[in-house]
Subunit: 403 residues, 2 copies
Amino acid sequence: MLIVQKFGGTSVGDLDRIQNVANRVSETVKKGNDVVVVVSAMSGETNKLVGYAEHFSKNPARAEMDMLLSAGERVTASLLSIALQEMGHDAIAMTGRKAGIITDLHHTKARIEEINPQKMQDAIKEGKIVVVAGFQGVNEHGDVTTLGRGGSDLSAVAIAGALKADLCEIYTDVSGIFTTDPRIEPKAKKLDKISYDEMLELASLGAKVLQNRSVEMAKKLNVNLVTRTSFSDEEGTLITKEENIMEAPLVSGIALDRNQARISLMGVVDRPGIASDIFNRLAEAEVNVDMIIQNVAHDGATNIDFTVPVGDLHDAKRIVDTFIQSGEIKDDSYNEDICKVSVVGVGMRSHAGVAAKAFSTMAAENININMISTSEIKVSMVIDEKYAELAVRSLHNTYKLDQ
Amino acid sequence: MLIVQKFGGTSVGDLDRIQNVANRVSETVKKGNDVVVVVSAMSGETNKLVGYAEHFSKNPARAEMDMLLSAGERVTASLLSIALQEMGHDAIAMTGRKAGIITDLHHTKARIEEINPQKMQDAIKEGKIVVVAGFQGVNEHGDVTTLGRGGSDLSAVAIAGALKADLCEIYTDVSGIFTTDPRIEPKAKKLDKISYDEMLELASLGAKVLQNRSVEMAKKLNVNLVTRTSFSDEEGTLITKEENIMEAPLVSGIALDRNQARISLMGVVDRPGIASDIFNRLAEAEVNVDMIIQNVAHDGATNIDFTVPVGDLHDAKRIVDTFIQSGEIKDDSYNEDICKVSVVGVGMRSHAGVAAKAFSTMAAENININMISTSEIKVSMVIDEKYAELAVRSLHNTYKLDQ
């Protein structure tokens, strides 16, 4: 098999851990596999460099930041390659440039446009372990770019896609994807397999494990993604296409997102295009609007409720204020003490009643549902934050996820 | 003027010092100059990375070392560019690759083959300050290489040559080139100007300031080199071609090299080619032979004395031993308690009697001269190490270097 293994900052956090990673790669090779390793910077290193830059400027130039930040992954890749060579393996360290990772021109959050895997393929043919500095690529001007948050995961998935690897293993300090957060529901179970779409919906649950960008790319490139821990031999969770999961359960997991705030707009003037105006302005300010509810208008005015991440609340308020000043919105109110509980499962597509079951579970616990939104494979409910744990545990029990 | 300014590890040793460097560059620009800055890694950074590599291997692969070590200069260059931008300057950080520094294939001690200065020239035309990561280049395979010890100085000189810069300033923690080591002779004076050839001969005196490789390149490319300190506004020493120095003094300086050992070979069989055999074998083992004295043969045997750096003594002994075992050398002896004192000055070319004056100075102090070697602009004498300081001070006085 050809396996891409990606190790994050915690997994390469010090020299001993880099040696552990070398041991794990070595074992994988000894089992007869070809391995491409993608590494992050040693944990703390990127933050240190960002701190250096911020010493000089609150808003450092992005091209310079990319040249600065890309240094961390180069260090780890070189060291891991040296460690593997010392163990008797033929290894070669590659920068993002050498690995052929071509990006667009957006410094500090570049998008991968293309991978030219020739040099990696040549090295693999020569029996070499390829160790790639993650998080970085090169743009058409030949300048180093970085891929933003979760960038090393993206490097790994894109490389796995370009090389048509059998597996792309993402090593973190978490052992896989769980039916829900085990800190809330100790009966939560690790999933063996989950579909790309479910993983995307469980994002808020799995955010610390995998970014949606990586899962989306894995789905697009049809990469079998495994998320597992580098601190034990425990098997992880395979994220793959739905057809590869023989018997998908009705519900795969319960996700909780505490990072939401609700904005209520009262007395919104009922003219055509007003909602479009409001939400376009929010989009321009890069406010991430999630759920939206609009009532039917009464007396020439309507109410609109929507949720945004807590971090975007300040920007959202600023924009809402301009509409209040122009008289198009009468009043507003904000609530940060809410959360979003979601039931996720591809089985919902073919089975009715999943949503109804969720609503009656809430009712049985006397939890009031503020907002509801559904997709083909998800039911999300906004509730008061104080009920968060109770709701998660009740739903976990309702769908028998501990079995 | 177009000025290349190079700042070593101590000058960029922490964030405050990088800010100081930015201030100095800014002042140079405000005086109406175009500036290209070449920076080393922050002091300690390269050693830290070497230590990391040695944790994994005593003999790490050189390509990996280059990828590892080149990270340090990239960090400094990015940070300095950010600092300059924050001060309102238009600055751009460049890796060795972007600056167009093309080297041969020798990882960890590559030689610069060519500079393609187009991107630097374009940036200068746009009014930008160019900040280049020193010590690094790129080979014909597109892989990062490093230039070995003193590599950032080489980068600066090569860039100054390629850009036909008016001046190449090398900033260190030393304020210039002195007539001799001020720790030995407090009356030593800083030289305003010195020729390339004198600087090369004074290497042992100036080793901590400038490596011969850089001076040789400056001579070849006709680069006006200034060595000065980054910790004050004190003027430094200009190293330039002889024609630029109107009235060269008879003697420019007294150099002391304590790092020499003397090897005496007794009863060397007098056959044609024996000396060639011995010194070829030493050269193959990369032993740096400096002075050689061979007596006229008596009774089919001769004596040969030579000096080597103390660090090469072990290797030299090993080779001499093989000749003793084969019977071609009868006996050997070693002396590490010697030193080499040199009188250097281009004025010697046109003035007789400089060497004679040196010998009579030694005689007046009752210092026995073990070996003598002379060049057009230098007289070197090997003496017992205990007389080192006395010899330096006496010669300094003889040639009135304190005036």
